[in-house]
Structure formats: structure tokens, C-alpha cells
Amino acid sequence: MNVNLTLVINMIFFAAFVFFCMKFVWPHIMAAIEERQNKIAEGLAASERSQKDLELAQEKAAEILREAKGQSAELVDSAKKRHTEIVDSAKDDARAEADKIKSGAQAEIEQEVNRAREQLRAKVATLAVAGAEKVIERNIDEAANNDMFDKLVKDL
């Protein structure tokens, strides 16, 4: 219970511990705590920011989607129009082609007919001559008859 030298020595210890704490303990721990607090605050702010960014991006995406829908509708419309146009022009083309082919065929047919007519004409002439020869074998001279038959063939 007596106050003695212990008190003075322990006061020196006390001062030393407080000094140590003030220099090497307190500032470092407080700095760590404060840095963590800042980091947490920054993290929260960043997450809020990204939340906002997300909302904006979603809005933008919706807008783009809307635009795309409009564009695709337009595209479909123009494609339909183009389709009918193509079908119409194809029809026209086909018709023209068909006309061309028809007229070609007709010309060919006419040519064929002409040729056949020529051949027939030639054959008829010989046939007539042969028939006539058979008739004339019985009489008359050939030259006078030939003239007559030529006239006949030309009339055919």
C-alpha cells in the first residue's frame, strides 16, 4: 500500500507504451480503417454508377430494338413490292418471249409450207410429165407437149 519507486518506474513504462502506441500503432491502424472505408464508399458509388449505366444501356437497347423492328417492317414491305414487280416483269418477259417463239415458229411453218409446196410443185411436174408420157406414148411429139405441160405446171 506504500507509494514507492515502483510508481515512478511504471510511469516511465506508461509513457513509453503511450509513445509507442502513438507512433507505431494508432496511425497505421487508423489509416488502414480509413482506407477501407474509402474503398467501400468508392465501391458503392461505382456500383450505383454501373446500375445507372445498366439502366441507360437497357433503354438504348430497347430503342435500338424498336428501330430494328420498324426497319424490318419496311424491308418486308419493300421486298413484297419488289416481289410483285419482279413477278409482273417476268410475266411480261415471258409473254414477249412466247410471242417471239410463236412468231418464229410461224415463220418456220410458212417456210416449211413453201418448201413443201416447191417440192410438191417439182414432183407434180415430173408426175404430170410421167403421166403425160404414158398418155403420149401412144401419140404426138414430145416437144409440143412439154410446152403445154410447163404451162400447166405454172398454173398450179
Binding site: 500500500m1 506504500n2 507509494v3 514507492n4 519507486l5 515502483t6 510508481l7 515512478v8 518506474i9 511504471n10 510511469m11 513504462f13 506508461f14 509513457a15 507504451f17 503511450v18 509507442f20 502506441c21 502513438m22 507505431f24 500503432v25 494508432w26 496511425p27 497505421h28 491502424i29 487508423m30 489509416a31 488502414a32 480503417i33 482506407e35 477501407r36 474503398k39
Partner: protein, 291 residues
């Protein structure tokens, strides 16, 4: 439980409350014969445990401070930070100036006093028994010369070294903030003052007396409160230990009351440390206030 047969109860108590002392006498420094040595005595046990516990505080907190992780603090770091933040909050709630000393001072006081008070939980005979065995078998001394009082805060020297340290800081900051004139004015011109110069002069001694008593009361109450609580706690533990040595009934009753008293000290130990810390902060913040 008495460590030797020829010790009666009073002797047992006295033995437990006797510090291991070394003192300066006419024959030089001697152990345990210090009744007449007066001031030049050192309570080796109190000082040793106080120093070890203070060093433990410094070392363990310093390790955390050095390796402090920002992102992923460990369990021990979290606990240290909890204590630091608790002290920081207590300081900021009470003291509104800027002073780099007060918060570390409060932390040191709080943790150191808690650690010293916690020695109270160690069974009263355990460390003295170890000391006695060492003294007798290693050092070869008589058993009755083995003293060990291992609860530093039950030593008035330890508690007063803290409170006087705080008192010196109160004086230092009072004079630093208010100047010597302001400080003396605070001591002499309050609480009684008068517009009449003559009456004022007459009132100075009265004020001085009252304010000085008020000022001196701060360290004394601070030191005695802690000492008284822990001394009483230790004394009761010793008495219960005696009760436990009186047969089987006494042992059971003593065991239960020892446990109850120890559980009660879960409250007392941090509370006393907290009061010491809080009053330190309050006194220092008063020292910073200019009236």
C-alpha cells in the same frame, strides 16, 4: 489451499497481499526486508507483470498495424480494429479538438488496464505456487520468503502511476491551451467571482482552495477507484480460496462463489478499464476547454 501448513488465515491473506520487493537499505539492495526502506522500494512483481502486459499490448497491436490488410482482414485484425474503433468513437464523442495524443493514450490505458485486470481471473494460488516452487527448488530459499502479488492493478503504485501520468497531461494541456495566466485564473477566479475588486481579492484564496482540491481529486479518485475495485476483488478471491480449504462443504460453496465472483468480473474488469479511459478523455477535454 494454504500453501504451507503453518500459515493461518490472516497469514495467508497477508502473504498473498505482500509484494515481492527489492529495496535500498544501508547494506545495499535487498529482497523482501523493506518495512523501513520507504520510497526506495520496487515492487518487482507488479512492475514485471505490468511491463509484460503492456509489452504484450504493444507487440500484438503493432503486429496488426504493420501487417494491416485493407481488403481481407483476419480475425485478430478485426478484433484489434474493433477495439481501436471503439476507443476512437469514445474519444470523438467527448473530445472535439485536434490532439494526436489523446486517442492513442486512451487506447493504451484501456487495453493495458483490461489486460492487467484480467490477471484477476488467474487462480489466486497458481502463480504464487509456481513462484514458491521456483524460489525453493531453483533458488534454494526458505518457503516463507516467496512472495508474489501478480495483479498489478491491485497495487496502488501502478494505478497511481497511470492517474498521475494523466494528471501531468491535464496540467500540461491546461497551461498549453490557456496559458499560465489563464490556468491560474481558472484556479483563482472561479467559482466565486465579484465585480468589486476588493471582494474579488478576498475570494481568491477560497477559490484557490476549492479548485485545487477539485484538481487534485481527479488523479486521486482515478487511481483509487481502480485500485479499490481490483484490490477488493483480489481480497475476496483470497477469502473464497480460504473457504475452499475448510472441508468438503466449504470447498463446494467456495467453488461456486469463486466461479460467481469470477463471472461477475467479466463485467467489472472491462468496466473499470472503460471508466479509467473515459475519465481520462473527459479530464483532458476539460483541460482543453477555455472558460
Amino acid at each position: 489451499m494454504a500453501s504451507s501448513e503453518n500459515l493461518d488465515s490472516v497469514g495467508y491473506i497477508k502473504h498473498h497481499l505482500q509484494n515481492l520487493q527489492v529495496c535500498k537499505t544501508d547494506e545495499g539492495w535487498v529482497w523482501n526486508q523493506c518495512q523501513e526502506a520507504g520510497f526506495w522500494t520496487i515492487n518487482v512483481d507488479s512492475l514485471l507483470f505490468a511491463f509484460l502486459l503492456g509489452a504484450l499490448f504493444c507487440f500484438s497491436f503493432w503486429r496488426v498495424a504493420k501487417n494491416a490488410k485493407i481488403e481481407n482482414p483476419g480475425k485478430w485484425q478485426s478484433m484489434v480494429e474493433m477495439v481501436v474503433e471503439f476507443v476512437d468513437k469514445s474519444v470523438k464523442d467527448t473530445f472535439h479538438g485536434r490532439n494526436p495524443l489523446i486517442a492513442p493514450l486512451a487506447l493504451t490505458i484501456f487495453v493495458w488496464v483490461v489486460l492487467m485486470n484480467m490477471m484477476d481471473w488467474i487462480p489466486v494460488d497458481l502463480l504464487p505456487w509456481v513462484a514458491e516452487q521456483t524460489n525453493v527448488h531453483v533458488l534454494g530459499n526458505e518457503p516463507h520468503t516467496s512472495y508474489l502479488k501478480f495483479l498489478p492493478t491491485a497495487d496502488v503504485n501502478i494505478t497511481f502511476s497511470l492517474s498521475i501520468g494523466v494528471f501531468l497531461l491535464i496540467l500540461f494541456y491546461s497551461i498549453k491551451v490557456k496559458g499560465i495566466g489563464g490556468f491560474l485564473g481558472e484556479l483563482t477566479l472561479h467559482p466565486f467571482s465579484s465585480k468589486n475588486k476588493f471582494v474579488q481579492v478576498l475570494l481568491i484564496p477560497v477559490n484557490l482552495l476549492m479548485e485545487t482540491i477539485g484538481l487534485i481529486a481527479k488523479p486521486i479518485s482515478l487511481g483509487l477507484r481502480l485500485f479499490g475495485n481490483l484490490y477488493a476483488a483480489e481480497l475476496l478471491f483470497i477469502l473464497i480460496a480460504i473457504l475452499m480449504s475448510t472441508g468438503i462443504g466449504g470447498f463446494i460453496g467456495g467453488f461456486i462463489s469463486y466461479m460467481g465472483w469470477a463471472i461477475f468480473h467479466i463485467l467489472v474488469i472491462p468496466l473499470q478499464a472503460f471508466i479509467f479511459m473515459m475519465l481520462t478523455i473527459v479530464y483532458l477535454s476539460q483541460a482543453h476547454e477555455d472558460h
